[in-house]
């Protein structure tokens, strides 16, 4: 953030990007490179979205943190970009010039940004342990905490919902950065264009009673497995959560919550086949003796290099069985019995595994449509944000100057999200140029 920017009292910027995940970052960076001033509003404590939490990504097996962090730090440093973390847009209205006025609420982190050095002394002092949402509840964290090791900004926050107000962190903090008097801050900005990049929600498999409804100890979601495979993995190996045993017969259940009208999600989530195939390959690296079986309906390996990646998994002896898992039952020793129709033999079979990964899909992350007051920001039939002209103006929404990027438009993998963000930025840039031209034209045209 440049000083000019910080000191500006006008709060007039060119564009607002809602969401600091990879699509939001990429949109903002593109606009910033084109010379526009952008604000990113991110509801989490750190930018980076889902991607910064992934292990290696398909099909190139790049370390995700290694390719996300350059974008994250470039965004954080860019003189044309301002970031509001821990913040949410509360209301958006349109003025007579066609510009948008956004009201943004920034929740306090109870830590003074400029003083915190990220030393983690508060974390050590804090006596409260709660589930760590950044590790998908696999391990705990403190109530005074740094969200995760590569968070941006890498500064502490106090989780006041769980804090017991013991004051231990305050005492431990050398620079005196803890400040319990911080309040919610309201910022109002005026922009000419908005890019909505609010990402997706993960399907909650607890809704599927056939798969234990969340009660089976050794059934995890794919995100929980992903966290066990990242470079900063909590256990340094793969463990099943029920008893901490290293699993040696792991099953992947694809389409858990996708392509399934019974759970209200008829569409394909587009990424689960590929991330499961990737995780299977990584598991074979982390636990070389393990057997991995993927139960699938169709393997959707459609992108550049994807089918080759699928073939590679087969060569590595990942087992692929065509059949939908009907039911998962827990055995006394914590192992799981999977019942399914084995399509290739036409028989109903049962197979025992010691750990099951549910390859959960993508759901829309709604909410932005409520911010525009009387103007209707449209959703598509699946509650993703609507693209009225998908073929030739792909990331334009139904509102002038409002664009959408990434998985807020529908299921998408990372390469496609990044392309969509570049595209949304180009469309927003063009809109802003034309919009500014029309405003200055009005201003200079005598009445």
């Amino acid at each position: 953030m440049s000083d000019d920017f910080r000191n500006s009292s006008l709060n007039e910027l060119d564009a607002l990007v809602i969401g600091g995940g990879i699509a939001g970052l990429e949109s903002a960076l593109n606009l910033a490179h084109m010379g526009f001033h952008v604000m990113i509003v991110e509801k989490d404590l750190s930018i980076g979205g889902r991607m910064i939490h992934l292990s290696k990504v398909f099909p190139t097996l790049d370390c995700s943190a290694c390719i996300t962090t350059p974008k994250v730090s470039e965004t954080a440093r860019h003189p044309n970009i301002e970031i509001l973390n821990h913040s949410e847009v509360k209301h958006i209205s349109r003025d007579e010039n066609g510009s948008y006025r956004a009201v943004i609420e920034q929740r306090p982190r109870y830590v003074i940004d400029s003083l915190c050095t990220g030393c983690q002394d508060c974390e050590e002092a804090c006596p409260v342990v709660v589930k760590d949402e950044y590790q998908y509840n696999l391990v705990g964290r403190k109530a005074a905490y740094i969200p995760f090791s590569i968070a941006s900004p890498r500064i502490a926050a106090i989780d006041l919902d769980n804090c017991i107000l013991c004051g231990a962190c305050e005492k431990a903090c050398g620079p005196g950065a803890i400040d319990f008097t911080q309040e919610t801050r309201i910022t109002e900005i005026t922009v000419n264009s908005i890019i909505v990049a609010t990402g997706f929600k993960l399907f909650d498999p607890d809704r599927i009673t056939r798969y234990g409804g969340g009660k089976l100890k050794n059934v995890v979601t794919a995100m929980q497995m992903e966290r066990q495979l990242v470079p900063t993995r909590p256990f340094n190996t793969v463990l099943r959560p029920g008893d901490g045993k290293v699993p040696d017969k792991i099953a992947y259940v694809l389409c858990a919550g996708s392509r399934d009208a019974t759970v209200g999600n008829p569409i394909c989530s587009q990424i689960c086949c590929m991330y499961s195939i990737k995780q299977a390959q990584l598991i074979l690296g982390a636990v070389p003796m393990a057997d991995v079986t993927i139960y699938f309906l169709h393997v959707r390996a459609f992108g550049k290099g994807f089918d080759e990646f699928y073939q590679q998994a087969k060569m590595m002896d990942v087992q692929f069985i065509k059949g939908k898992i009907g039911r998962i039952k827990e055995l006394e020793n914590g192992d799981l019995m999977l019942r399914y129709e084995d399509i290739a033999s036409g028989q109903v079979k049962e197979t025992q595994h010691d750990m099951v990964v549910l390859s959960v899909g993508i759901l829309p992350n709604m909410g932005i449509e409520k911010l525009f007051g009387d103007e209707k920001f449209k959703l598509d039939p699946f509650n993703f944000y609507n693209q009225p002209n998908e073929m030739t103006d792909p990331f334009k929404s139904n509102l002038p100057g409002v664009f959408i990027a990434g998985t807020s438009t529908g299921p998408m993998d990372i390469p496609d999200s990044i392309l969509s963000a570049g595209a949304a930025a180009a469309q927003a840039a063009k809109y802003m140029k034309q919009h500014q031209a029309s405003i200055s034209h009005q201003a200079t045209t005598p009445l």
Binding site: P70, I150, G303, G305, I343, D393, F395, G422, A423, A429
Partner: protein
């Protein structure tokens, strides 16, 4: 003479990255740190979890200022990923960015030697020592700035090219839109109804072409090919050869129509994939753009019948060559449908075995009942993955668009043309995302899906009518199912267009699949290894139309980011000639692949000179110079020698 690196007196900071555990799982980073910190000139040696993380970058900046440091070395991943990240760190700390050296101990060490951690640790130490040696001798360098031409050459006027042209023009960039064919629209023009939105290709192309024509800053060239290109990012000089169309205005559409009727020559119409015939003077469909026919001189007999009806026809027209000057080149050259081999699933052995592209043209041309070669068609069998996901063939990739597109065509066959029996003989349906709805719709409306496994493809019998297709069907526990059908449609995938000349002129990098290759699918998805050359649409790999438009617009962002500043910063790591040592032998000129060396006369003798805007710093010239008169800034002979010594010492 090699300078002893440890006596340059620079205070050097060394950072050893764990890369989470990507490096530290195999390299004993603590041992490396200990060894390195003993080296002369090393003021500090630290281990970081992720050197690229914002917090680590801040720490390095603080160290540079507080220690203070004169140079830094980061031992982490490939410089391809983070060279610029850490150059930025050096700069923010107040150092010249070229007083930074990145040492790759991940791709070239921890990942490569994960089975030998002790040796990997030793290798890391040697590699870092070499880095320290290099940075000890490094000189501050300043990037060169050159003006950039605010214009772009877009090659291919299909959906991706035209969409990009419109956006770039509106952003204030001058656009040269270069189309090889005599009509714009590419493959989409041939495509009829689209899945998901039911627009037709013709509608999309018409809309886009009207938008293109509205903009004065877009110049469209049809029948045009790039025949030469010189220069580099910011300043490409391109020669375009424009083939004659042998027709020019003014001449009214009625006269054109009569001229076409009068033409006695009939040839296969490639626009309709040879399903129909056309004349030697032709256009493909009524609203086609530019709205002027063209004479196919290869087929024309010069009978001059057409001249009687239309005065716009010029059979003596010659080709022209024009030169354009652009800052960036945008490739959107599209794909070709896979052409099945003779005999592949009965292709060209039975006339009723057709390709998917032919079916799409048929659907577009059919009014009323669905007939083929005079007979009503009631049974259609689709065979999927023809030319894609090949086990033995070259095309290992999935062509992405075909499952959805074929199923959409099947729905059209059933709903509009009332074809009652449709069989989908597939290899696993890939209607990803929202396209799943079409699969659901087709499979619940009576279409039959049969699935074969990779090494057991269906067998097509064409000796007797009707055609029989036999499948070992996975979905019924490998029951052998035989389908009798009136028409077999081979769902043919995408292959790259043949563009041998263009690829060699522009040095376009290709991937394993022979499509144009990006630098990195996530970090730099539309850029190529040639600076200023971007790619979009299906020339990069199979995509549907919406995805092509998306990639085209993403490439627009990139091009506009390059051109909007009016100038380009060039890497200063270029060749440099010491004229005192040069004895002009011309060997460097021969070795240079970028025309960056010229001979100049000096008072005494001729010597070599570097044309800096063309030089890429590739280093091809240095080893051939017999007198060591030529060197690369940032990779000088003394630097490289000191690295070798440090590594072997």
């Amino acid at each position: 003479m090699i300078k002893e690196p440890n006596f340059t007196g620079k205070r050097i900071g060394v950072y050893i990255c764990q890369c989470g555990s990507n490096i530290s799982d195999y390299v004993d980073v603590e041992k490396v740190r200990e060894e390195i910190s003993r080296g002369k000139g090393v003021s500090l040696a630290k281990i970081t979890m992720f050197a690229c993380a914002d917090s680590a970058q801040k720490e390095i900046v603080a160290d540079i200022q507080n220690e203070p440091l004169d140079a830094i070395v980061v031992a982490s991943c490939s410089p391809k990923l983070h060279l610029n990240t850490f150059r930025g760190v050096a700069e923010r700390g107040g150092l010249n960015p070229y007083n930074y050296v990145q040492v790759n101990i991940r791709e070239q060490d921890s990942w490569a030697h994960s089975d030998k951690p002790a040796q990997a640790t030793l290798k890391a130490i040697h590699l870092i020592r070499a880095g320290i040696a290099k940075v000890s001798l490094s000189e501050p360098l300043t990037p060169m700035t050159i003006p950039a031409e605010n214009s772009v050459a877009i090659v291919g006027a299909g959906v991706a090219g035209m969409r990009a042209a419109i956006e770039l023009a509106d952003l204030g960039v001058n656009v040269h839109l270069i189309e090889r064919e005599h009509f714009v629209g590419g493959r989409v023009a041939q495509w009829g109804k689209m899945s998901m939105t039911n627009q037709t290709g013709e509608e999309i192309i018409t809309e886009l072409y009207h938008e293109v024509k509205k903009r004065e800053s877009i110049r469209v060239y049809t029948g045009a090919n790039i025949i030469a290109s010189k220069g580099s990012i910011g300043n490409f000089n391109i020669q375009v050869k424009i083939q004659p169309r042998y027709v020019e205005p003014p001449c009214d559409p009625e006269s054109f129509k009569k001229a076409i009727e009068a033409c006695p020559v009939e040839v296969d119409d490639e626009f309709n994939f040879n399903l129909t015939k056309r004349k030697a003077i032709f256009f493909n469909y009524r609203s086609e753009f530019p709205a002027m026919p063209v004479v196919d001189m290869a087929a024309c007999t010069r009978c001059e019948e057409c001249l009687k009806y239309c005065h716009g026809i010029r059979l003596d027209q010659q080709y022209r060559i024009i030169e354009i000057h652009v800052g960036s080149i945008f490739l959107a050259t599209g794909f070709n449908p896979y052409e099945p081999k003779k005999g592949e699933f009965g292709y060209q052995e039975h006339p009723n075995v057709i390709t998917f592209q032919q079916l799409k043209r048929l659907l577009d041309l059919t009014k009323g009942e669905f007939r083929f070669r005079g007979k009503k068609i009631e049974r259609v069998a689709f065979i999927y993955c023809v030319g894609s996901r090949q086990i033995d063939g070259e095309n290992k990739y999935c062509a992405r668009y075909c499952c959805t597109s074929a199923i959409h065509a099947a729905i059209q066959l059933r709903q509009e043309l009332k074809v009652p029996f449709i069989y989908h003989i597939n290899k696993g349906i890939r209607t990803y995302g929202k396209q799943e709805i079409l699969y659901e719709q087709s499979s619940t409306s009576g279409d039959v899906y049969l699935q074969f496994v990779e090494d057991d493809p269906p067998v097509v019998e064409v000796l007797n009518n009707p055609i029989k297709v036999t499948v070992n069907d996975l979905l019924t526990a490998h029951m052998e199912v035989t389908v009798t059908t009136d028409l077999v449609v081979l769902i043919t995938g995408m292959v790259p267009r043949v563009n041998t000349e263009l690829i060699s002129i522009l040095k376009v990098p290709l991937g394993k699949d022979h499509f144009y290759n990006e630098i990195h699918p996530k970090l730099r998805p539309v850029e190529t290894m040639i600076d200023g050359l971007v790619i979009a649409g299906c020339c990069q790999g199979p995509r549907n139309i919406a995805e092509s438009a998306s990639s085209a617009l993403a490439a627009v962002s990139k091009v506009y980011s390059i051109l909007n500043k009016g100038e380009i910063k060039l890497e200063p790591t270029l060749a440099i000639v010491n004229p005192a040592a040069c004895e002009w032998c011309g060997k460097c000129l021969e070795a240079c692949p970028f025309d960056a060396i010229e001979r100049i006369e000096t008072e005494k003798v001729p010597v070599a000179r570097i044309i800096e805007s063309n030089c890429k710093g590739c280093g091809m010239c240095t080893p051939v110079c017999p007198t060591e008169a030529i060197d690369i800034k940032g990779y000088t002979n003394p630097e490289v020698r000191s690295m070798i010594e440090a590594m072997s010492g």
